[in-house]
Amino acid sequence: MNDTSAPLRHLPATREGDAAKPIKSELLHINMGPQHPSTHGVLRLFITTDGEVVHNVTPYIGYLHRCAEKIAEGNSYHQYIVYTDRMDYLAAMNCNWGYCLAVEELLRAGGMEFEIPEYAEYIRVIIGELNRIASHLIAFGTYGLDIGAMTPFFHALREREAILNIFEKVCGARLMYSYYDIGGVKWDLPDDALEEIKIFLDLFPDKLKEYDELLTGNKIFVERTANVGVVDAATCQDYGCTGPVLRGAGVSWDLRRNDTYSIYDRFDFDIPVGKGLVGTVGDCWDRYWVRMQEMEQSSRIIQQAVERLPARGECMAEMPKNLKAAPGELYTRTESPKGELGFYIVSDGGPVPFRCKTRSPAFHNLHVIVKAGQGQMISDLCATIGSLDLVLGEIDR
């Protein structure tokens, strides 16, 4: 805790010829959060500082804990879908998808035979990628807020609003969708949803340019984020970071490509990785930039999916109402906007899961702040937290 050997690079030397001996002041213990605006929810960081320099960061989480894993053991497979919405509430569709896919794979491993209609798979991809854009828009907007730029937030929410309007048409909800179901999606797309998606896709590239003009190349923004909070690839692997944090460190790892699921192998898209364009590979700017590029790639996927969408048909496989998976266990993972979202489900043949563990990407992405936060200025710590794109609902479950 009182490790005074942490880098004190921001402190000036006391006097000439005494460069090896920086000023030391008394260590201060500060609570940041759980109501701090830049922690994106109820995250409390206990920091030890020497003046403005952070020596140690200890995250305290669990303020939003609902013990969803215990709830899972008391509810049927279908009933638990609504709880997955409440994990990552900014990308609820992707959470639904991850869980439904995990149950489907478990049923298949247990010998049950069914096929998800191709039409439903296309809808899943379109809606899932739209939600990825919506989630990254929030990440982009709030990151601007963290750094002190107010305007991008309003621009980001304007486009997110368009996506939420589409979702509202599709399933009636704007935040907690429960649209994905085990075996497909709950409802067909309404008649005008495709039109709206096409309009959105036409407008979106211009908006992305607008964001770039607003924030990406902004000198103040670059000064605040380049070379700040550098997390290298080895650290990412060690701490279990996934998603844009891992890709920002220059590792081309995307489960849609590396461990493909659904019908992602049919689409043509790139996996953007951090290149250190304005600073070091794996700094805050790189993570931000990867998200911006991913929005572009997501809209490419949606474009292709909309073009190739098969004729209207069934959007649910024939599934028994009372699902019972054969005894067994399986870990299934998907690429959510935050990273690798996995569900480890153990079934003993009953109508409820015996064990349902969620691998939350943001949980492991947050862990890396313990290392990345050391030796930073407090204001840089805020920038680093923002760049990790944390959602506490998912961390605490």
Binding site: C67, G74, G342
Partner: protein
């Protein structure tokens, strides 16, 4: 390297410490003797052709009442009374606790499920936090929910539950406390049901 090769390598190196192997393209699994877990983990990480450098997730499992034939005891434990509360646990639990580690090699792309089973009376197992840093928080979470003691863990505290919470909620014989700091919890099992 196929999962059979990995199994053969481990068998040659650790012999009787490798208890069980299950093939399968999706999820090759190896069960390990708990006392040798750390050695196996280090071997898996450090050998060049194995190179399991990522630990994806750590999960505890309470095997109490698990029955391969599909007639588990847990549904009785989890049943609701008519007023919405959870019924009391009548039988003492006897099953083992387990810890499951999902590993992956970013270099070779192969995956492995490593699992240990430990007795309920003395739930202790070596910590892998020094092997993969992911395990630090993963083991804290497992400790939090199952009360499994990870020997040599640098900072074993509750992580998601409050520090002064009593009991291990994900154990199958867990009894919901009736009050927490003067807040009545009765009638609020893990799914809140309004009385009408």
């Amino acid at each position: 390297m196929t999962e059979q090769d990995i199994h053969q390598r481990l068998l040659a190196e650790f012999e009787e410490a490798i208890l069980d192997f299950e093939g399968g393209e999706k999820q090759p699994a190896i069960a390990v003797e708990p006392l040798r877990l750390r050695d196996v983990a280090l071997y898996l990480r450090d050998q060049q052709d194995l190179a399991f450098d990522r630990c994806l997730v750590i999960s505890g499992v309470d095997w109490e009442g698990f029955d391969e034939s599909g007639k588990g005891k847990h549904r009785e434990i989890n049943r609701y009374e008519e007023d919405g509360t959870v019924g009391p646990v009548e039988e003492a639990a006897t099953g083992d606790l387990g810890v499951v580690y999902f590993l992956e090699s970013s270099r070779h792309g192969h995956r492995l499920k490593l699992s240990v089973r430990i007795p309920r009376e003395s739930p202790r197992v070596d910590s892998l936090a020094s092997v993969w840093t992911t395990a630090d928080w993963g083991e804290r979470e497992t400790y939090d929910f199952y009360g499994i003691d990870f020997l040599g863990h640098p900072d074993q505290r509750r992580i998601l539950l409050p520090e002064d919470w009593e009991g291990w909620p994900l154990r199958k014989d867990y009894q919901m406390p009736s009050r927490y700091h003067d807040v009545p919890l009765e009638g609020m099992p893990y799914a809140v049901r309004e009385e009408r």
